[in-house]
Symmetry: C2
Subunit: 156 residues, 2 copies
Amino acid sequence: MLRMSRLTDYGTVVLAHLARFRDGSLHTTAAVATATHLTPTTVSKVLKILTKANLIDSFRGSQGGYRLARPAEEITAAEIIDALEGPVSITECSVDAQQCDLVTVCGVGAAWQRINVAIRDGLEHITLAQLADPRHPIAPFDLDLEHNHTGGLTRS
Amino acid sequence: MLRMSRLTDYGTVVLAHLARFRDGSLHTTAAVATATHLTPTTVSKVLKILTKANLIDSFRGSQGGYRLARPAEEITAAEIIDALEGPVSITECSVDAQQCDLVTVCGVGAAWQRINVAIRDGLEHITLAQLADPRHPIAPFDLDLEHNHTGGLTRS
DNA sequence: AAAATACAGGACTAAAATGGTCCTGATTAG
DNA sequence: CTAATCAGGACCATTTTAGTCCTGTATTTT
């Protein structure tokens, strides 16, 4: 399924923490670490990544710290994963695309990719605000590849 | 997103290959390897895993080989992933659940888990037959996290 | 200015997951 | 009995991931 690295998990926790403050207040690495029960070094790493991804803003120097770059409602799960999980490398075709006779093989890869795209679309509609609020239920995915086997052979 | 290990990719390719034969014929490791352009050892590993997961049936001895345990229409993407990807280990709460005061932290984990469940549900509706056929389009996921049915509030 | 506070960026190490191979044993057909 | 074949692990190399640390830069305070 959606396999997340631990860093993504931490990142979400950190973001969720920052999301609790809607007053633009700044929070230092140390403060976030304490609040989330994570180690400062790890939190620092996560905060830096999130900053580069423009999900949070950072301010240097005394009285500096971090805060969300936008309201939690405008930060999506897809963005969080992109930032922390990095680009997803696809298993590319080993042979030259020109001479690839393995329709079955490459077709399969394409199918999974389309599933990924579908999942991604779904994740774009989930916001940090929802992730941070444990009460939010989750509707099932309509991952319908399409049903044009009108022949109805899927069942006997 | 849906990060698959290479083994899952191979597994799907192998399954897709077997799915092309609906006559119950058996296929040896070597034959599958040749057909898919994968190395025999790797194919062997994959086939063994798929056998243990009951997605394919195996027959030992001379004239032995493998074949799908069921029609491709009855094998789901979720099953394939379960078999090859193994159980998804969740980042478990470090502290005793009893004394966990970090609602934000644990709530986040729960949210991701629910997303996973939603994705899984979607994958259960995609069949090997669809994966094997590159023509099948993929509908977008309705990953609606909030959307509290009944128009009521989520218990404020 | 000087000092203290914080973030930026990257180097680095250890541990774990993956990928892939190989060996030994068990089963079946002929 | 002998050829095929699968079963089940052991095993090693490579890559990822986690997590730490060091050096530098920006900002505020005194």
